[in-house]
């Protein structure tokens, strides 16, 4: 359940940034999570409540932007959608690809008061 570490990482960033901005609490948090990031949203949601308890995030609205996986074949340059990290090039079947997007795991923005 590494999602708990992820959730607590989000809490830490939020605490730090809220303090830096001399704000009191977060009203809304925007996250960017890629489909290939290795984080299960269900697990993240499961641990969320206990992770944010007594933190600046306790009453914050959570918005998650899911970022679709995209890769580019190194052998034939085809760009393609990726559902799994082991997806092969649909055109030439090569295993060699660069991941263009989908590995994101980011706190994008905080709305604070």
């Amino acid at each position: 359940m590494h999602e708990l570490s992820i959730a607590l990482g989000i809490v830490k960033i939020s605490e730090d940034e809220t303090a830096k901005a001399k704000a009191k609490k977060v009203t809304k948090i925007e996250l960017e999570i890629g489909e290939l990031s290795g984080v299960e949203l269900e697990s993240l949601n499961f641990v969320w409540e206990s992770a944010i308890k007594d933190s600046v995030l306790e009453f914050a609205e959570k918005e998650i932007n899911i970022i679709k996986g995209k890769g580019k074949c190194i052998d034939c340059d085809t760009e393609f959608d990726m559902k799994f990290i082991y997806d092969t090039c649909p055109k030439c079947n090569s295993n060699f690809k660069g991941i263009l997007q989908g590995k994101e795991l980011r706190v994008k923005a905080l709305e604070v008061i």
């Binding site: 359940m1 590494h2 708990l4 570490s5 992820i6 607590l8 990482g9 989000i10 830490k12 960033i13 605490e15 730090d16 940034e17 809220t18 303090a19 901005a21 704000a23 009191k24 009203t27 290795g38 641990v47 206990s50 992770a51 308890k53 007594d54 933190s55 600046v56 799994f84 990290i85 082991y86 092969t88 295993n95 060699f96 795991l105 980011r106 706190v107 994008k108 923005a109 905080l110 709305e111 604070v112 008061i113």
Partner: protein, 266 residues
Amino acid sequence: MCGTCGCGSDSNGPTILKPGEHEHVHGEHTHSHENHHHHHDGHHTHEHSHKHKVLEIEQDILQNNQVLAARNRGYFEAKNIFSLNLVSSPGSGKTSILERTLADLKDEIPFYVIEGDQQTLNDANRIDALNIPVIQINTGKGCHLESDMIFDAVKKLDVKNDAILMIENVGNLVCPSMFDLGENKRVVIISTTEGEDKPIKYPDMFHTSDICIINKIDLLPYLNIDIDKLKNYALQVNPNLQFFEISATTGEGMDAWYKWLKKNVI
């Protein structure tokens, strides 16, 4: 709440112990809860306009772990320490491979070992029996090692220059994949008794590894596993993987692995 184990108190966080040390020493893992103070200072500055302000953060959630991993990597580079992060599911033979490797090479290469498990000093005691400096990290409820634990453990272990540092991660094929420890190479171990489709069942770990050791090849006559199929699945996830097929029990195939280790430390 404890940042590592998720418990309500601090008492279940990771402990870092050498064999023979008392098991209930806490405090190596620093809980940074400094932001939990409440602003109850004299002048009450609460404005009733409730002005919302948007902070564009754009910060990687794992940044803290990555920064400390980079610090570990720099430390290893400066001291010419070749560090390996051994990952696998429980029971694939990480500790047995370590034991055999250390016993066979300890006269040629100085080794240091960090053992990661949720509980017990058992693995550290097995390594200690070979007279290799070892330290145990018990993660409590935690399912993986993080770079700050390695940072603390390496200092306590006092690793000398020109050595190999073996970090045996918690037996878990999922969580440790996301946490860079600052290692030079990540080694994923799979045994022949596991399914050949494991690389695509747990792709993240194979995707982030450099080396794949296939252990327990002495059992092949009794099993239905197709090694080539296993390798093809692994290469589909990560075409750059380098394989070693070994048996830690019989010693078969260990020479190629030893050759690779020696090449990297000199």
